[in-house]
C-alpha cells in the first residue's frame, strides 16, 4: 500500500530472538486515516511487529518511521513523547485492577495533562459514553464482563485522542455481540479521531468487515496484501486456507517431524 500521506513507514524490518529469525524484510506503508489489519497464524511474527511499531523492541535491521521519526532511534524522552500520541489496546484490555473504570480512563489525562478534575470528569464521561459504558464509571474492572472490559480499555486507549492506535488481538475471547460492538467501535473511533489504526489479529471475518487494507504474515514475511475484496477474491493457497479456515494446506496440520512409521516402531 502506498500513499504520500503515510503515518507509519516500515522499511526492510528484520528481527531475531538470539539467532532465530522472526521477521524477515517487512515493508509496509500505513496511511493516515486508515484501519489496517496485520493477520497471520500464531507465532508468525505479527505480535513482534506490533511491539516494534510501539517502540518496545528494536529491529535488528531496517526501520519504523512514525510521523517522520524513526521510533527506535528516539531517546527515552522522545519515545515517551511519541507514545503520548499513540494508543495501545492490549489483548485482554490490561485495565489497572486497583482503579475504577473512571480512574482507568482518566489515568493518562491525570499523568500527562494539568486539566482540572471537573474537565477530566467530563472528558472521561464522554469517552465512556462513546463506548456505551458511561454508567459503569464507578465499577471496578473485576465487576465487568470480558467484552465490557475491552470497551473500557478502548475508551482508555483513545483518552488523549491519539494519531495512531495499535490493537493487539482486540477480538480474542469475545462473544459474537461484543465482537461486533468492538469492531464497530474501532472503525467509528478511528474515523471520528482521524487516526490511523493497526489491528494485529487472526480473526479474519470480523476484521475484514472494518479494515481498509490487510497484510498477511507467515514465517516472518508478508505473503499477501490487499483490500478486503482483493483478499476474498485471492486464489493464493495460503490466503484461501487462512480465510476459509481450512485444516490442511500450506500451513500443515502435522508439526514437521520424522517418519511416522519409525515413531511407531514399524519397519518399512
Amino acid at each position: 500500500m502506498t500513499s504520500s500521506q503515510a503515518l507509519v513507514e516500515i522499511r526492510d524490518v528484520n528481527f531475531s530472538y538470539d539467532s532465530r529469525p522472526i521477521l524477515k524484510g517487512i515493508n509496509m506503508t500505513l496511511p493516515k486515516g486508515k484501519v489496517i489489519a496485520v493477520m497471520g497464524g500464531s507465532g508468525c511474527g505479527k505480535t513482534t511487529l506490533f511491539r516494534i511499531i510501539g517502540g518496545a523492541l528494536k529491529p535488528t535491521k531496517g526501520h519504523v518511521k512514525i510521523d517522520g521519526q524513526v521510533i527506535h532511534d528516539l531517546s527515552q524522552q522522545g519515545l515517551y513523547e511519541m507514545r503520548r500520541k499513540m494508543g495501545v489496546l492490549f489483548q485482554f484490555g490490561a485495565l489497572f485492577t486497583d482503579m475504577s473504570v473512571f480512574d482507568n480512563v482518566a489515568f493518562q489525562m491525570r499523568e500527562h495533562t494539568d486539566l482540572p478534575e471537573e474537565i477530566i470528569h467530563d472528558l472521561v464521561m464522554m469517552k465512556l459514553n462513546a463506548v456505551g459504558l458511561r454508567a459503569t464509571h464507578g465499577l471496578m474492572p473485576a465487576e465487568l464482563s470480558g467484552g465490557m472490559a475491552r470497551r473500557v480499555a478502548l475508551a482508555r486507549t483513545v483518552a488523549l485522542d491519539p494519531m495512531l492506535i495499535l490493537y493487539d488481538e482486540p477480538f480474542a475471547g469475545l462473544d459474537p455481540i461484543s465482537l461486533s460492538v468492538v469492531g464497530n467501535l474501532i472503525r467509528k473511533l478511528n474515523d471520528a479521531l482521524g487516526a490511523t489504526s493497526v489491528i494485529v489479529t487472526h480473526d479474519v471475518q470480523e476484521s475484514m468487515k472494518i479494515v481498509d487494507y490487510n497484510y498477511f504474515i507467515d514465517s516472518g514475511v508478508i505473503v499477501a496484501e490487499g483490500t478486503p475484496d482483493e483478499i476474498r477474491a485471492s486464489q493464493m493457497p495460503y490466503v484461501r486456507q487462512f480465510v476459509n479456515g481450512e485444516i490442511d494446506g500450506p500451513v500443515p496440520f502435522h508439526y514437521p517431524g520424522g517418519n511416522y512409521k519409525n515413531d511407531l516402531g514399524v519397519s518399512a
Binding site: 510501539g54 518496545a56 519515545l79 515517551y80 513523547e81 507514545r83 503520548r84 499513540m86 495501545v88 492490549f90 489483548q91 485482554f92 490490561a94 485495565l95 489497572f96 485492577t97 486497583d98 489515568f107 493518562q108 499523568e111 500527562h112
Partner: protein, 262 residues
C-alpha cells in the same frame, strides 16, 4: 564428560547470578533516580503506606503484644534466680528496642506486605498492566515502584516502634499485673537503662535498613517475575526467603557495629 558438564553448569549459574545482581542493582538505582514523583505526588505514597503499613498493623500489634508477654514470663523466671526481678522492665525494653522489635517486625513485614507487593507487581506484569503503562508513556518505575518503595521505607520504622511499644505493654501486663513485679521499679529501671541514642536510635536505624532491604527485594522480585502463575508464586516465595535471610544477616552486621560487646 560429566566433569566438563558440571563445570559448564557452575559457569552458567555464576553468570546468571552475576547478571541478576547487576540487573537488581540497576533496578534499585533507577528506583532511587525516579523517586521524585513519589514525593511530588505524595498521595501515591500515602496510598501505598496504607496498603503496606496500615494493613500490617494488626499482625504487628498482636505479635508485639505476645512477644512482650513471653519476654515478661521468661525474663521474670531468669531474673528471679538472681533476685533481680526489678530489672524486668530493662530486660523487656532493651530486648525489644535493640533487637526483637526491628527484626521481628521486619520479618512479619516481609511475609505480610513484602509478599503482597511481589504478588501484586508480578500479576500486574502478567496481565500486561506494566506494559500498558509503559505504552502510555508513564514510567512504571516512577509510578508503581517508587511510591511502594518509599511507603515501605517510611512504614517499617513506624511498625517497628509500634511492635516494641506493644511488646513493652505485654511485658508490663505479664510482669506487673499478672506476676506482681513492682510497678515503680519496672518503669524506673526501664527509664534509666534505655538510652535514646544508643538503644532507640540504633533500633530505628536497623528497622530503616531492614525496610530498604525487604521493600527492594519484594519490588525487584515482582518486577522480575516470569509472567505466569508459577512465576509469580516462585517470586513471592523468593521474596519471603531472601528478605528473611537479608534481615538476619544485616542484623548481625549492624549489631556488630552498633553494640560491640558493650
Amino acid at each position: 564428560m560429566p566433569v566438563v558438564k558440571s563445570i559448564k553448569a557452575i559457569g552458567h549459574r555464576t553468570i546468571d547470578v552475576v547478571w541478576r545482581i547487576g540487573y537488581a542493582s540497576r533496578f534499585f538505582a533507577l528506583t532511587l533516580y525516579y523517586s521524585g514523583a513519589s514525593f511530588r505526588r505524595f498521595h501515591l505514597t500515602i496510598k501505598e503506606m496504607f496498603a503496606s503499613g496500615v494493613m500490617s498493623l494488626i499482625i504487628i500489634l498482636v505479635a508485639g503484644m505476645f512477644v512482650g508477654m513471653v519476654l515478661g514470663l521468661q525474663g521474670y523466671e531468669t531474673l528471679k534466680r538472681y533476685g533481680s526481678e526489678s530489672a524486668l522492665g530493662s530486660l523487656v525494653a532493651l530486648s525489644l528496642v535493640r533487637e526483637l522489635g526491628p527484626v521481628l517486625a521486619a520479618l512479619l513485614f516481609a511475609s505480610r506486605a513484602g509478599s503482597a507487593m511481589t504478588a501484586e507487581i508480578g500479576l500486574m506484569k502478567a496481565t500486561e498492566q506494566i506494559a500498558a503503562m509503559e505504552m502510555m508513556a508513564v514510567n512504571p518505575i516512577a509510578r508503581v515502584i517508587g511510591p511502594r518503595f518509599w511507603a515501605g521505607l517510611i512504614s517499617m520504622p513506624l511498625l517497628s516502634a509500634l511492635f516494641s511499644a506493644m511488646g513493652v505493654f505485654g511485658g508490663y501486663v505479664v510482669g506487673v499485673v499478672v506476676i506482681g513485679v513492682d510497678e515503680g521499679s519496672f518503669w524506673s529501671q526501664m527509664q534509666s537503662s534505655v538510652d535514646f541514642q544508643h538503644d532507640v536510635l540504633n533500633g530505628v536505624i536497623k528497622s530503616f535498613v531492614f525496610g530498604v532491604a525487604v521493600t527492594a527485594i519484594a519490588l525487584f522480585e515482582g518486577f522480575d517475575a516470569p509472567p505466569t502463575a508459577e512465576g509469580v508464586s516462585g517470586a513471592t516465595t523468593r521474596t519471603v526467603v531472601e528478605s528473611s535471610l537479608a534481615i538476619l544477616i544485616l542484623d548481625f552486621i549492624l549489631t556488630a557495629f552498633m553494640f560491640r560487646g558493650d
